[in-house]
């Protein structure tokens, strides 16, 4: 059943539409992650659902009920702010208990619940600690416990892992994912980090300038970006205009083989770095840079025609910068992307 429905949701600041006619549904127990660069309107989307930002047009429905006249404190949603916004004048326990106290939960059951939640987020016994004494990761856990405490029907997370360092981020993403599936929480998260989105979400929604550019499972989005924007936002650099006919595309790099059944005519072609093969009879290139990536090496190639190419190759035998190489394209790693 659909818990949250956005129906043509639009927010204008002056002339500019920050959220532009967004239609989005989130089913119960689903984890949806909105992915987009900063300024794409994703935080505003969360504020709209929380009731902190009024809509210029469209509707927000929670459990089928229009929320237009419902103030934030009666919507029963949770929002974890980007910088946590823990109350500085309350200790950890006071922060987590806040949502329970304002709902009139008795002290005894309040304390019990706070203790349980702190256990859940991995900070057992931290009730009396001052908020200022917490590290970034600990603050994030307290903010999560605080948001979970009133058992919101929808939990929203704004850049949940954004301010943490990389190791912690990866670990917490895994922890959050298993926590949400255990609790059956419905989650709407926003992030600019694709890794975070793919690790957390059942479904990913990519936003561009206030509009939805693509929605689908992480795998779908990764394998078949719906536009050049999505492809580039996911970090793919090898995108060029192309004219597709049958299983070949004419590109600035020369002919590139494409999978059977690809859309025909004026399109864009994306070649994943792993699909750029070195050696044999192909496009003549000069290696201009080489970046060590741990398990492999990323090469930047300057072809004799067309824009720079990114290629992935094994550690062993990777050519030096300045070396002359040839490049071929593997159709399995080529995607035809609609123009625009």
């Amino acid at each position: 059943m659909t818990l949250l429905t956005l129906d043509g949701a639009t927010v204008r600041f002056g002339e500019r539409a920050v959220v532009d006619a967004v239609d989005l549904g989130v089913a119960e127990h689903e984890v949806v992650c909105v992915l987009g660069p900063s300024g794409s309107g994703k935080s505003t989307l969360l504020r709209v659902v929380a009731g902190l930002q009024a809509l210029s047009a469209g509707r927000v429905l929670l459990g089928g009920a229009d929320q237009a006249a419902v103030p934030p404190h009666r919507r029963g949603v949770g929002l974890m702010f980007q910088d946590h916004q823990l109350f500085p004048h309350r200790d950890v326990g006071g922060n987590v208990a806040f949502g329970l106290r304002v709902r009139g939960v008795r002290r005894g059951s309040c304390e019990q619940r706070v203790a349980g939640l702190l256990d859940l987020v991995g900070l057992p016994g931290a009730q009396r600690r001052a908020v200022s004494s917490l590290s970034g990761g600990e603050q994030q856990r307290v903010a999560l416990a605080r948001a979970l405490a009133p058992q919101p029907r929808l939990l929203m997370l704004d850049e949940p892992l954004g301010q943490l360092d990389r190791g912690l981020r990866e670990r917490l993403a895994v922890e959050l994912r298993s926590l949400f599936s255990r609790l059956g929480t419905t989650v709407l998260a926003v992030t600019h980090d694709q890794g975070e989105a793919f690790a957390l979400a059942d479904r990913v929604v990519v936003m561009q300038d206030g509009r939805i550019a693509q929605a689908g499972s992480p795998l779908e989005v990764w394998q078949r970006p719906a536009s050049e924007f999505v492809a580039r936002f996911l970090g793919f650099e090898n995108v060029v205009p192309a004219t597709v006919s049958a299983t070949a595309a004419a590109t600035p790099w020369g002919p590139v083989p494409v999978p059977a059944g690809s859309p025909q005519g004026e399109q864009r072609v994306l070649v994943r770095p792993a699909g750029v093969l070195l050696g044999g009879d192909g496009l003549a290139c000069v290696v201009t840079a080489r970046t060590f990536r741990g398990t492999h090496v990323t090469l930047t190639l300057e072809p004799e025609s067309g824009p720079a190419l990114e290629a992935e190759c094994d550690l062993a035998g990777a050519p030096e910068p300045g070396a002359r190489v040839t490049a071929r394209f593997d159709p399995a790693e080529v995607v035809v992307v609609p123009a625009g």
Binding site: L52, A54, P71, G78, P150
Partner: protein, 564 residues
């Protein structure tokens, strides 16, 4: 980040709630009514009475009065002494701002409290303290036969004494929070020590220096008690002249014109001040002040520290010490003779009651005035806390007006306007606290506003999303965060109410004088006993102020200090 902020700032009306501007206007109604009734109305009445005759408004009088040679002299003196006082204050206090902000030395906290004492001292006490130091029979007179009380120097030095803390606190408070790493970044980029200071620190400080300069100019331009006591017949500021014209010469038209002139000048200064304040709101990278101070090292820093300590000793500690010394220096040797005389109404014939009763009167009045100022100022600050449109910004400046508009005019205005039903307050004790609250409100607003504005809107939003209705949000988020600021505001309002002189001198009843009024009356009489009693009473007043300040100092941290 920048974008996110703008989005928050641009947040429209909350879903489901009435427009916040309506709530804001509601909060504003009480302060507006208060200022209308007890400030605008009395002042307008005085001006009207001066400029209006049976044949209509006489605006020609304005030109006539300001071109009179004696009035032109007053205008000229008011302006140049304010400029000179401000410049002298800056020269002496800016090094101190640096020393208190950036150098860590034993006794720094105590010393910072000491330099703030003069600011909350009643002008009358400042006047008598300087009289005791440089006046006839004063310490310098006894030691070297030097008297400054007939020269302008006494006024200038008293003004420095009075305003030293304004510069030290406003500039030093910001200086302490500037991230030293910014200057270090400039040094690494190749700037010399001075160039780094000039290009990084100075621009960051400039708005604070500008604001402090304008505040000092405002206080010295409208100076009353200090000039009245130290100026003698030779020197008069506009405010003193208004008092003379009103109370002694009964020349209301001239007083009205002078009030208008001062009103215009103060309005201009406040407009400038509001402008610099807005510039100050530009984001600076601020850090915890306790992290920026270092132990002095190098001859230059030690010399600076020594110079500042010497200035504080000579300029601030000495006058206060001499004041206390004089209060014990009775004809029969050191003792409590002057203090004992305060208990006796008949001792001098100056009072219908014992001068010591003024202590009780003052405390009662000041407490009432503090309560009024907190209520009015608190409401105004709450209304102004959210980002305001041009209308409310104007209101912000309006709240500052009582600091600069002739208190004498306000006092006299009270007498002629609040004397008929339904507002016949002439015989009511509330009249004095009402006038004192007028000067207390700006301090309350200025102390609470920055703290309220610093409360992150998203903290309130976090509370709302967690299920707290608007009033609960205010109680759970705003109130705990501003509690300290409220106490500090109360302390300031109490201190300035205690010291208010210009308005109180008109409206305090003869049998219920306040401390400053009693001191002024004693100083106005000849005779050693009167002089000694004035010193004793000033000492008591100073102690009351200093104690309330020290209590404040315990509550204050520079982070939440607001403007003063």
């Amino acid at each position: 980040m920048d974008l996110a902020r703008r989005e928050v700032a641009g947040t429209g009306p909350k879903a489901g709630g009435a427009g916040p501007s309506l709530v804001r206007l509601g909060l504003m109604a009480v302060p507006l009514a208060f200022f209308g009734l007890f400030f605008a109305y009395p002042v307008a009445a005085i001006v009207g009475r001066g400029l209006r005759t049976d044949t209509g408004w006489q605006f020609g009088r304005i030109g006539e009065v300001v071109t009179r040679p004696d009035i032109a002299d007053v205008l000229w003196f008011t302006t140049w002494q304010a400029v000179a006082s401000t410049a002298l204050t800056l020269v002496l206090a800016l090094p101190a701002a640096y020393v208190f902000a950036r150098l860590d030395f034993p006794g720094r906290q105590v010393l910072r409290a000491v330099v703030t004492v003069p600011f909350v001292l009643p002008t009358v006490v400042v006047g008598s303290a300087f009289l005791a130091l440089v006046g006839r029979g004063g310490l310098l007179d006894e030691l070297w036969g030097v008297r400054l009380d007939t020269t302008v120097w006494a006024i200038l030095l008293a003004h420095v004494f009075f305003n030293y803390a304004v510069v030290v606190r406003t500039v030093g408070g910001l200086w302490a929070q500037l991230d030293p790493r910014q200057e270090e970044a400039a040094r690494v980029l190749g700037a010399g020590r001075f160039a780094a200071w000039r290009r990084v620190t100075l621009p960051a400080l400039a708005p604070a220096v500008g604001a402090a300069t304008l505040m000092v100019f405002l206080f010295t331009f409208s100076s009353f008690g200090v000039v009245l006591i130290l100026g003698g017949p030779a020197y008069a500021t506009l405010e003193v002249e208004v008092y003379r014209q009103t109370a002694q010469l009964l020349d209301l038209p001239t007083a009205a014109v002078l009030t208008l002139v001062q009103f215009a000048a103060v309005g201009a200064i406040l407009a400038l001040h509001a402008w610099t304040l807005r510039r100050r709101e530009r984001a600076l990278k601020l850090v915890d002040p306790s992290r920026t101070a270092v132990r002095p090292h190098g001859a230059g820093q030690w010399a600076l520290l020594g110079g500042v300590l010497l200035t504080v000793a000579v300029l601030i500690v000495a006058p206060l010490a001499v004041l206390v010394e004089r209060s014990f220096d009775a004809p029969g040797g050191y003792g409590l003779a002057f203090y004992r005389a305060l208990q006796d109404a008949a001792a001098t014939g100056t009072f219908v009651v014992a001068p010591l009763e003024a202590v009780g009167n003052s405390l009662q009045y000041a407490l009432a005035a503090t309560a009024i100022a907190l209520a009015i100022g608190g409401l105004a600050a709450a209304a102004l806390a959210r980002r305001a449109g041009p209308f409310l910004r104007g209101f912000d400046a309006l709240l500052m007006l009582p600091l600069g508009v002739s208190a004498v005019t306000v006092g006299f205005g009270f007498l002629i306007t609040l004397d008929e039903p339904p507002l016949d307050l002439r015989t009511s004790w509330i009249l004095v606290p009402l006038a004192q609250a007028l000067v207390g409100v700006p301090f309350v607003v200025r102390t609470m506003l920055p703290v309220l504005r610093a409360v992150d809107e998203r903290l309130r939003e976090a509370a709302a999303v967690l299920g707290a209705p608007p009033l609960r949000v205010w109680r759970e988020v705003d109130l705990p965060l501003v509690r300290r600021a409220v106490l500090i505001a109360a302390g300031f309002a109490f201190a300035v109410s205690l010291g208010e002189f210009g308005a109180t001198v008109f409206i305090a009843r003869a049998d219920r004088p306040t401390l400053p009024v009693a001191v002024a009356r004693l100083l106005g009489r000849a005779g050693e006993l009167n002089y000694g009693q004035a010193m004793a009473l000033s000492t008591i007043l100073m102690l009351v102020c200093a104690v309330s300040l020290l209590l404040l100092e315990r509550l204050r941290s520079d982070k939440t200090s607001g403007e003063f």
